[in-house]
């Protein structure tokens, strides 16, 4: 190996050297590069989307740094420890959710944050990791594909936190938590028949759930099907973001030249709708490049998941990789008008500390599962 380094070109030497260093830190070099490219792209766009606000960029940089630290730390953790701590983490999260819901109930309003004085903390973010970990832990010692009994247990494990988040109410995050948990179950080999059956039940449940939705939630769904019914209200977001993307064309209007974004026609331009800013300023090519970077990250993550050698690692790693893609798809889908508007940020690009830290923490876990694979017992 050393000879290889000396005989290679300088660039190759550097790359290999970096890979060595990454490996020493229990990180995956290729995945890091993919994530870094997405993050840098995100910062460039954010500078324009925030109205050339340098403080915003600095704060986003801080978020990125915090996420990187979380990733680095979690990458060092022994997967066995991760697995064993899963139930406790899960239990801790559920308790926090109960507390938040309780405060919200007393305060008579939507409550998602837990103010710890120094940091404001969103327990539902924690559950995005805790739920798939719990499901993977639950399946680890059980034969796959899971039996009916196992499935019922899993359903309960997913339903409790999801229900609590729905009560906050935060439908978008609840859906993401449910998806993260469900992906574990699907990857564990849930039979296609059952998937189809559940889809049918889900549709029926959606129908039923409609009755329990808040008015603003119903409105979001309705305006998704016909944005023009509410041009200045809920439909405004969808109309304006489609105008932004559509007017961007193939090559875009240029960095900081997007009239929709710069003149504030586009709502939430630096958070949930930043995808539209890219579409407007960098065009179809810019979006395609972004999707390509995401695809690379997801593909690499899935590859890493496949290299792991025990059930817990495999299921959790693949769930994390797929959840990442689901985020991308839901955000891009809602901004471009394919999906209803739900509050899902564009991973690593949208401005926001919580999601940045959670996502990078997830990748830290994924890398830990991969890089410690030889250490793990069955």
């Amino acid at each position: 190996m050393y000879e290889e380094v000396t005989s290679g070109s300088r660039t190759r030497r550097t790359l290999t050297g970096t890979a060595h260093m990454a490996a020493a830190l229990k990180l995956d070099g290729a995945l890091i590069i993919g994530l870094a490219l997405v993050a840098v792209y995100g910062l460039v766009v954010l500078y324009s989307a925030s109205g050339q606000s340098l403080p915003t960029i600095i704060r986003a940089g801080v978020h990125l740094g915090m996420g990187a630290v979380a990733m680095l730390v979690l990458a060092q953790v022994n997967p066995n420890l991760l697995r064993r701590s899963s139930p406790w983490l899960y239990l801790f999260g559920v308790i926090l959710l109960l507390v938040v819901d309780g405060i919200g109930y007393i305060g008579k309003g939507a409550q998602r944050w837990l103010d710890l004085g120094v940091v404001r903390f969103q327990p539902s973010e924690l559950m995005k990791l805790a739920v798939p970990m719990m499901c993977a832990w639950f399946l680890h010692d059980r034969p796959l594909p899971p039996t009916m009994g196992t499935l019922l247990g899993l359903a309960a494990l997913v339903f409790v936190p999801v229900g609590l988040v729905v009560l906050q109410p935060d439908l978008g995050t609840a859906a993401l938590i449910a998806i993260a948990g469900s992906l574990v179950i699907v990857m564990a080999g849930l039979r296609m028949r059952i998937i189809a059956g559940l889809a049918a039940i889900g549709a029926a449940g959606g129908w039923f759930g409609w009755a329990f939705m808040h008015d603003y939630q119903k409105k979001r769904v309705l305006t998704f099907f016909d944005p023009s019914t509410d041009r200045l209200g809920a439909g405004y977001h969808i109309i304006q973001s489609q105008i932004a993307i559509g007017s961007g064309g193939v090559f875009g209007k240029g960095w900081m030249h997007g009239s929709q974004a710069q003149l504030q026609f586009l709502p939430e331009r630096s958070t949930d709708f930043i995808f539209a800013v890219i579409g407007e300023e960098f065009g179809l090519l810019g979006l395609a490049l972004l999707l390509l970077l995401y695809a690379f990250v997801v593909a690499r993550a899935l590859y890493l998941a496949m290299q792991t050698q025990d059930t817990f690692a495999r299921l959790l790693a693949s769930s994390l990789a797929l959840t990442f893609f689901v985020y991308v798809f839901i955000n891009a889908g809602m901004v471009s008008g394919l999906l209803p508007v739900v509050g899902v940020p564009l991973p690593l690009v949208s401005y926001g500390g919580s999601s940045m830290v959670t996502l990078l923490a997830g990748f830290g876990i994924l890398m830990a599962l991969y890089s410690h694979r030889k250490l793990m017992g069955s």
């Binding site: 796959l144 990857m187 179809l284």
Partner: protein
């Protein structure tokens, strides 16, 4: 797989997982392609559509109002122009303490305390960055009072806007009209787009009649706005590509009015209610059109208050009434030259035959007496003197001989009973009575009958006959032109932006047919007699030019059969109206005048001197001699 107890089969599970991962990977590819497809639809196929939408989003078109055309007199003197007016405006978001600022303005006397609530409501209803006018029509003094304290009022500033101003004030107001705030009925008939950004519209007179020419074409300016509607110069690296179209100013109006003559006419009327109309018989040009009392048209341009308007409408002298066009009065004896022409043309009058006037007239078989007017008994009198001395008895008999229908049909071409067609609106037609008319005008059958005595009264311009000063000025100009006449007009040309004047050709009226030249001369001689030795001799004295005139006195109320009209005992408002019509110089008339003084008493004493002053002002040079231009007949 084993039935019953199941144990973990790691190899099997690995394969299962790999299959799932493969499916997931394919699913990811499919979903990504779906996304790309959607983006392709938006960014390639519907790109033009969304580009248009985004353009409309950020660019707002703001109108630039065109400068209203000026109004000039025949010598290019300014009668109506544009002037910046001051108003106090407030930008809500820049005012730290709105209530304190408003209270301080009340203390300064710039706003009234009882309007505060309305004002606050207005301010609240606007966007915080919009400038809201809190005080309009600031006088110079108001501006000064605010200016010294300006530092105490952050967010408040004095702004200027173009408004109409009339440098001569009340002069010629009834000819010019005025501009006022666009009203709801105005909005119904105008093209709203053409008036966006414009606050004022012509209301009366030439301001209204030539609104289209004066208004001009609005320009526009595209401004970059953000989603809040706030105008922004530049946002980030986004440099706007904006279009601007300058407005095209309205045409200036060149009027036939002669400001100097107009001023003389109004000064001569003074505080009396009345009207003066002077026409050029050779073109129909209105040299002067005065109606007193008047009012200051600037009141309306700067926004008239309720109180000011009430003062105008409640005034018993009716300053808003345009007496020249809308004041309808009996013509009095000014009708006599036309009746004489009718008699001559119908060959029922021998101009040289001497009649006897003993001061009263009665129809055969009737005991009703028709009195001589103010001029007493004339004794033996022929046509020329009958006109010059205004002998009623002579014309009582003549009217009875001609008959009402023939008289009316002869008079109609002179313009009695119909509008002259002057180029401003609001003109009243007056009334040329006939038996036919009476049948339609009255309900009760006994009222519908035309009595012979009414014909007699008609012959001296009393009774049902009603004329306006403009109509009589036109009659005077018809006689001056020996039957040739022109439609009266105020605007003779339009001046474009380059200063080029586009003249408007005079419009000839239908000439009077059938009157012989000799008969014109006979009647005009009678009118010249009136101004030299007859009723108006005092006013004709010492003129450097020849004058043909006719006095008239219109009854306001009827004196009882045996009573004598005594000017001193009759209430001022019930006194007779005084008329005088004239034209000069007689051989090549340059000016025809009609003067009405309401309740002025005798035409000779109240109206004729005014006409003389007007004619002097128009015809004489500064040296008191006839102007060169006036001497040479065109």
């Amino acid at each position: 797989m084993v039935q019953g107890v199941r144990i973990k089969d790691h190899w099997q599970e690995q394969r299962l997982f790999e299959r799932r991962a493969l499916v997931a990977g394919l699913l990811i590819v499919a979903l990504t392609l779906t996304l790309i497809g959607r983006l392709f639809l938006l960014q390639v196929m519907r790109h033009d559509y969304y580009t248009e939408l985004s353009q409309g989003n950020r660019v707002r078109t703001e109108p630039i109002p065109a400068a209203r055309g000026l109004i000039l007199d025949r010598n290019g003197k300014l009668l109506a122009g544009n002037q910046p007016a001051y108003q106090l405006e407030l930008v809500p978001e820049e005012v730290p303490d709105l209530n304190a600022s408003l209270k301080a303005l009340v203390q300064l006397g710039l706003i009234e305390a009882d309007t505060l609530d309305d004002l606050r409501r207005t301010i609240r209803s606007r966007r915080p960055f919009d400038s809201v006018p809190v005080r309009l029509r600031m006088s110079e003094e108001d501006v000064a009072r605010f200016a010294v304290r300006r530092f105490e009022f952050p967010g408040l500033d004095i702004k200027t806007r173009q408004t109409r101003f009339y440098p001569e004030g009340e002069v010629a107001v009834h000819a010019l009209g005025y501009v006022g705030a666009i009203s709801e009925p105005d909005l119904q008939r105008i093209d709203r787009a053409a008036y966006s950004g414009t606050a004022l519209i012509g209301k009366l007179g030439v301001e209204s009649a030539y609104e289209h020419e004066l208004h001009g074409g609005n320009g526009f300016r595209e401004i970059l706005v953000n989603a809040l509607g706030r105008s922004v110069q530049r946002q980030g690296a986004l440099v706007p590509d904006l279009h601007t179209r300058p407005p095209t100013a309205g045409d200036d109006l060149v009027l036939s009015l002669d400001l100097a003559v107009q001023a003389v006419a109004e000064t001569a009327l003074g505080e009396r209610r009345g009207s003066v109309v002077a026409l050029d018989p050779q073109t129909g040009d209105v040299i002067a059109l005065a109606s007193r009392p008047g009012f200051d048209p600037s009141l309306f341009a700067r926004g008239i208050t309720r109180g000011e308007y009430a003062t105008l409408t409640d005034n018993i002298d009716k300053p808003l009434l345009n007496r020249a066009l809308r004041g309808a009065y009996p013509s009095g004896s000014t009708i006599k030259p036309v009746v004489a022409l009718a008699g001559l043309t119908y060959h029922v009058l021998n101009p040289d035959k001497v009649e006897f006037c003993d001061g009263v007239f009665h129809l055969p078989g009737s005991s009703h007496l028709y009195r001589e007017g103010k001029t007493g008994r004339h004794g033996h009198i022929a046509l020329q003197d009958a006109i010059a001395k205004s002998c009623d008895v002579y014309f009582y008999g003549l009217a009875a001989t001609i008959g009402v229908n023939r008289m009316a049909s002869f008079m109609a071409p002179f313009g009695y009973g119909k509008v002259t067609g002057i180029d401003i609106s609001g003109e009243k037609p007056g009334l040329l009575p006939t038996p036919e008319w009476k049948k339609l005008a009255f309900k009760r059958p006994e009222d519908q009958i035309w009595f012979p005595g009414e014909t007699v009264n008609f012959g001296v311009g009393q009774g049902y006959l009603l004329v306006t000063p403009l109509q009589l000025a036109h009659v005077a100009s018809v006689i001056a032109g020996r039957g040739k006449n022109f439609r009266p007009r105020l605007v003779t040309g339009l001046r474009g932006m380059q200063g080029d004047i586009q003249p408007i050709a005079p419009v000839a009226g239908k000439s009077i047919e059938g009157v012989s030249d000799a008969d014109w001369v006979r009647v005009i001689d009678g009118m010249v007699g009136a101004a030299t030795y007859g009723t108006a001799r005092a006013s004709g004295k010492g003129a450097d030019y020849s004058i043909a005139g006719k006095t008239g006195t219109a009854q306001v109320f009827t004196v009882a059969q045996n009573a004598k009209y005594n000017e001193k005992t009759v209430d001022e408002r019930l006194r007779d109206h005084a008329w005088f019509i004239a034209f000069a110089p007689v051989d090549a008339p340059l000016i025809a005048v009609a003067v009405l003084v309401e309740n002025g008493g005798f035409g000779a004493s109240a109206a004729a001197p005014i006409a003389r002053k007007v004619m002097d002002a128009y015809l004489l040079g500064p040296d008191g001699k006839l102007k060169v231009a006036a001497k040479a007949p065109s």
